[in-house]
Amino acid sequence: MNSKFAKKYRYLAYLLIAPSITIVTLFLIYPSLESLYLSFFRSTPFGNRQMYVGFENFQRLLTSPAYWNSLIRSIVFTAVTVFISIASALILAVVTNKKIRGAKIYKSLLIWPFAFSFAFSGIIWGVLMHPNVGLMSYYIQLITTLEFNWINNGTAAFTLIIIASSWRMLGYNFIFFIAALQNVSPTLLEAADIDGASPFTKFWRITFPLISPITFFLLIMNTLQVFFLTFGVVDVLTQGGPARATDIVTYKLFRDAFLSMRTGYASAQSIILFVFVAVITVIQFKYAGEKVFYQ
């Protein structure tokens, strides 16, 4: 942009940015640095005294089987949830984007879950799959004779939080894909039709490359959201159990910080989580550059 406001208004630019910067500094950057600082301390069992312990918190975490369990489960949980919700949202968006009757109605009925929180989604699916009252668990048992008991069985509980989170993310991803597909030029697809391209060829050669920036964007956003924001699902359903099968990193962090009051130990976990975010961010910039973000 070449034209701009005169230099005498420069003070105004700072003034307009100041509120955002104040909030960011005070409530985001400063507390994050404080997390780093606290991660080198241990709170004494009685009273509020903090003891400097160097890297002890990190050492204890990285040698703790409970923490590795939590990390690995979170990563698997995130990967599976992100894959399911993006793949199904993409398929549904492509199909509803075809010129068919009632496409609008289908679309609006598929976006629903977006309005539900992870906690609400957890409650609904928890009841649907409940070993005593659940309709779905009842029929699963009737048909397969397998018992889906998420209250006692770790695998069932882990599956349940994946289902509840995927359902919620599906609506979110669907909205973005629909918006992206609206920009895929119909003439391009019609030209391909004239050349006799099959629907699969059209999808992989035309549609998919055109919407790959948004797919990549969703991949990043979903990974962060599922990894960090699914706390609610676990808190309303399993509280990390049974036998720590759903003890995802944010839940463990919450327990250590606010139930056991081990602030140093919890802050060290925060810093490890930051490493995770940093890795995702590097991937994002490396493979997409800034551009994908805004597109």
């Binding site: 994050s32 010129k99 609400f120």
Partner: protein, 275 residues
Amino acid sequence: MKRKKSTTLFIHLFLIISVFLVSFPIIYALMVSTLNIDEVYSSPPKLQFGDNMLNNYREAWQRSNMGKLLFNSAFISITTAVGKIILSLSAAFAFVYFGNFPGKNILFIMILITHMLPLPIRIVPTYQLMDNLGWLDTYYALTIPFFASATGVLLFKQFYMTVPESLLEASLMDGITPLRFLWSILIPLSKSNIVALFTIEFIWVWNQYLWPLVTTNSARVRVVQIGLKMLIPSDAQPEWNVIMAALIMGVIPPLLVYLTLQKSLVEGFAMQQDK
């Protein structure tokens, strides 16, 4: 475009099944919210609407103090969404229309960096900060720390950059001041972006869980998400019919916001794509 009839039929069948699978949990929640407690615990589980709806909703409303929960959630969601919109559209305006002023890049990076600092990374110190400020158990803790938005700044910045430069040139010739340009030209143009951001942020804040869980304690500021969790007893048989009734009431506001603003939401994002 011609398509075989059988293909069209197949597409409809596929979509009907998908819609059913996606919507079924919600229909089921609605059904459970109309049953009485014996029907909830009957075996095999009932797949039908009961006639205890009114009782369940009345009970849920009273037991959870739903009026207050809805008010609190609505208040913090609207305040935060509006706060984010105002702060991010003014910051984006400054980044686009004032040339290269000293410190511009570093300030922009500081705002972008918030993408890298989700709550769990700073939850202990932010909680302590709320404590020191005396903000625990108040609306302040639930709103002000969330007023900055990297997404919002990016969204508006991107949009302003697509606004034709001639518009600014013509306005400059008329001797327009920056704030007047923002207020009477840019903001009206940004309408669908504003609405899109409002929808996303309203639902986002409405559905927040971890932060209200750790910073609020009293019914005065309790939000829907936490109020609902408190309906589930840890030691007794939960009354799922009452809980589902509360859940349905608690999801209506975000759903309404979404349905009302749906068109602008998709338009707002579509415009971002349109380059």
